[in-house]
Symmetry: C2
Subunit: 601 residues, 2 copies
């Protein structure tokens, strides 16, 4: 039985930093080579990072990627590399090229370009429509595919196998959402077994604005068994030995009549490589490590309306890892030295402070408590206990004098004392100004602490509590905030860092006497499923009523969601963790006259 | 010579308001019918408004559009209508359907889906790939095309003419940018002459978030002559009589060999209509009204680096019309009763106040002057003169006491007096809080007054002067601000409403003693061409240096642009007037390591 050793190079490039990324690729390639890799595979668009957005419209950017690709080839002539990069040839392609012996070989060009959810690839790239080609490396015929390509059962991998491919290499930039890894593993297992061909899936890792690429690269043998699953959320180089099945044998074993005799173009990359020292690789019979078992026993949640209840510690751990990586990369890649947030003694800011501490360390995390006349004394105590538990510095600044001064000035302007929402927002905005002043003076980035339930309903103050550079938990429904707090105490820290009193007290913005969230919103146990139905599921009013929801409530929440689109449009970016986040995932007009309550559909 | 009367129904629907739009279509169709229209043509996606964005992903939305389409057909059975609407048939199409006699006929489906600049149609629609079909109405064979379709010389209109079409109806939702109307007219003239076929171009009118659809519908005869050009920026119904050229004659006259014998599907809509009373239509020989001459003598600016200098009153008038319509529709369609803005006595806020007064009237426009210790006394005087000239109410609120109180509180927090940028931003944010409090208390929407040069370079305070619901002049480079102020005085008002002293004084944020914009930025005569080169033209550093720009300056401005992307991402929407606005038009990553200064390309 023939085999080949593939180096899975799960790297974390920075969008646009071509020089840094090229250096990272060279270093990683040398490491993989030293581990015995015969083909070192990098993620989709690894050279420029993903998604490069409108950088791709800059001719200088495209030309510079080519220069760096040529240099990489010359820097690592001893090793076969497969690298994702944008490629111009009259039109722009999302490509992957083999390099060896100082040369860059003819590329594979992506055929299926996703243009839905967070993806806009058809804005930039042309879908390739070229005849099948295979790459011959050490006598092995290799087919290449890029991300979306492998999600289609009739995509390029099928043609490549029909043309004689013995191995499919699949380059990815696939962003995290809860349960996504399991969906990928299911699909890849079926695909490799359908095609009777091993598939090596290499994913990007790292945070880029709202997206977190979780890595979690995998390899499957020709029967669909998981051979290796690389640790997620970290950079990693692993070399895996893949057993190959000859084409003749596949024809013999093809029960579904998939095989046919295509006659592909063969591009010979290298005949044979000098035999390599192989200090440490996966044995070819290692098809069930513990690591892999963990993946299989945690299927994706069903995302029914109460999906948060069904999450287990595996899901919560993944979610926390995504938040940590997304925050850390946003802070570090953008050159911030530290972060600061208002600590109210409430659950959202407490969760944010704990995640910041995990992501950046206690020395880079600062809190400011800004009590007003309406804050319970216990809130300040809770904030202080949290800060002490985390070991982070916290300042206390009372806002009463500022609030009083503003009320005086506004009385002159408005002709009467500010009241109701005007007065509530005022307090929130005073805090925003103080946090931003601290940010200006110290360079700390402000973390804004709103959760998805608030952001969906507009239960936040524009330029007040929504002010900040990164909205860390903007994609966590409130019920997930509760669950993640408990997980952080029980698992991540193994002790009570977020005080139990914070978790159990009724949520309040504390902007007027005895205010509770539930004065304005239904209880979160009721609200969150409604939001799930309206935002992620696009359920109609009548479907929801049939499912047992109160029509009044649905109507009210639906209006709140539509009316707060303008606030979301001015919101800070934050980590996407659900399959449909606000932002690029859900692009609604602000000016929007659609009133779905009218249509019993 | 046969002829047919086409009703150009240039309407202003509201995105999502299906019921309101359906009523508007019915009323307009009846009016066109009474004017003698034989076919009344509505714009692209007129029924749902454009662009509906992710409303298109809601099944209830799509089904409701169909219900309304059926109802419209029943409400106006006496008239042939052609209406743009989304259409589901397994997949989603951008369609146009004829209605007559209570029936909805088989649709035309758009073939060319734009997915560049502000367009994302491939996110929603499938491009139709069906055989050519024509619609027979009163014995005339009519070809339909939608917007982008007509921009291709080998698009569906060519096939339709080859198949025997005697007339092309083209439905549009084409957004304004300076000079765009002339480009459309040029293209349509060439297209109708190439095809020896009349083209009726019907465009949407109205503002939708950042876009303004300018209407300006047109009709061209078979020789490429403009027959009628409908007034831009207003709703309008015009009926135009189109002379038709028989297919045989076209074959005789076809010098370029375009004609061929396609055999299209013919869908018969109506044999003949009862003869109509025709009280007022364009005579068929009216091929050069004054209206039309104005369009032809104002070609689009060349958009070289000093393009603002080349604008004439026609261009400035169009720009002002777009700003007025964009603002008015944003305010009215979103249900705001009034607008408010800070009046500093500077040129940007003065221009905004003048535009608001033109768009909404003086009763709906409010100003607040918020002088600090650093404001020149003359600034407050200028603001008052402006308000008096416009006849709008202005309040004065000094911010010194608030500034002092904040400085005291921040000294406690920071350990020393806030200084530099911290102190400057503080003043700007205090003003933001006051404006937002006024907005909360009165329901007035805050207009934020930053121009494109500031927004490009990040010369603004997040949550300070950038706070607001609508960034009216965000797409006007500073040099265009100057020109538009003079135009407003000279033409729009015909008197000096914006004081000359405001226009000629050196721009300043007045946030520290003797501050001038030019302390931080190059003079706008130097800056604006650099921004044009970097933002709209994607010119490389070395191209710019070759063109005579200072390399240091280019490098510095390039860095400013990249570093302020995070501010733009939290900015309010505003009217697009240039061919490349910040926002959907230019989608850059925040986390962005590309340093184009390194690449001499």
């Amino acid at each position: 039985l023939a085999s080949i050793r593939i180096g899975i190079c799960q790297i974390n490039p920075k969008v646009g930093d071509l020089e840094g990324n090229a250096n990272l690729i060279v270093e990683t390639a040398r490491k993989a080579h030293s581990l015995g890799s015969q083909i070192s595979v990098f993620p989709e668009l690894a050279l420029c990072g993903y998604p490069p957005e409108d950088l791709l419209l800059k001719p200088s950017f495209i030309r510079a990627t080519r220069e760096h690709l040529n240099e990489i080839a010359k820097s690592v002539p001893e090793s076969v590399l497969l690298i994702g990069h944008p490629e111009e040839d009259g039109r722009l392609y999302n490509s992957a090229s083999f390099t060896f012996g100082g040369e860059v070989f003819e590329s594979y060009r992506k055929r299926l370009l996703p243009n839905y959810a967070v993806f806009d690839e058809q804005r930039y790239f042309v879908a390739a429509n070229s005849p099948v080609k295979l790459f011959e490396i050490c006598g092995v015929k290799v087919g290449v595919s890029i991300c979306e390509d492998i999600w289609s059962p009739i995509g390029p991998a099928l043609d490549e196998v029909r043309g004689g491919a013995e191995l499919i290499l699949n380059l990815n930039a696939s962003p995290f959402s809860i349960g996504r890894r399991w969906q990928r593993a299911m699909m890849l297992s079926v695909r490799s077994s359908d095609l009777s061909t091993p598939i090596v899936y290499v994913n990007l890792v790292g945070g880029q604005d709202e997206l977190v690429f979780d890595g979690g690269s995998m390899a499957f043998d020709q029967s669909g068994s998981l051979i290796v699953s690389v640790e997620a959320f970290v950079e990693k180089v692993e070399v895996v030995s893949i057993d190959l099945v000859g084409r003749g044998r596949k024809f013999q074993l093809d029960p579904r009549g998939l095989m046919s005799d295509l006659d592909p173009e063969i591009i010979k990359v290298v005949d044979n490589q000098p035999s390599l020292e192989v200090p440490s690789i996966y044995p070819s019979d290692q098809s069930s490590s513990n690591n892999n078992a963990a993946l299989w026993t945690h299927p994706a949640p069903r995302f029914d309306l109460n999906w948060v209840d069904s999450l287990d510690n595996y899901d919560l751990g993944e979610t926390l890892s995504a938040l940590i990586l997304g925050l850390r990369d946003y802070v570090n890649k953008n050159g911030f030295r530290s972060v600061v947030m208002g600590l109210s003694g409430g659950i959202d800011s407490s969760l944010c402070a704990a995640i910041c501490t995990l992501a950046l360390g206690k020395e880079r995390t600062f809190g400011i408590a800004m009590p007003s006349r309406y804050n319970a004394g216990s809130s300040l105590d809770d904030a202080q206990i949290l800060a002490d538990n985390l070991g982070i510095a916290m300042n206390v600044v009372a806002i009463s004098s500022l609030h009083q001064e503003f009320r005086g000035v506004l009385k002159g302007l408005l002709g009467s004392d500010p009241k109701g929402l005007t007065d509530e927002n005022l307090q929130s905005r005073i805090r925003g100004v103080l946090l931003m002043a601290y940010s200006n003076a110290t360079g700390a980035m402000v973390i804004t602490t709103g959760n998805k339930s608030e952001i969906a309903t507009g239960y936040s103050t524009l330029y007040g509590d929504s002010a900040g550079g990164f909205a860390l938990i903007k994609d966590l429904p409130k019920l997930l905030v509760f669950r993640l707090c408990r997980y952080i105490n029980e698992v991540a820290f193994g002790r009570e860092v977020i005080p139990e009193s914070v978790i159990i007290k009724p949520p309040s913005a504390e902007l007027r006497p005895d205010q509770l969230d539930q004065d304005s919103l239904p209880p979160y146990e009721v609200l969150d499923p409604v939001l799930m139905a309206l935002v992620e599921r696009d359920m109609t009013t009548s479907q929801m009523v049939t499912s047992g929801f109160d029509p009044e409530l649905v109507s009210e929440i639906s209006t709140l969601i539509d009316r707060s689109e303008y606030k979301r449009r001015q919101g800070a970016p934050g980590v996407r963790v659900t399959p449909r986040a606000f932002g690029k995932d859900r692009r609604m007009p602000i000016t929007n006259g659609f009133d779905q309550r009218r249509y019993g559909l």
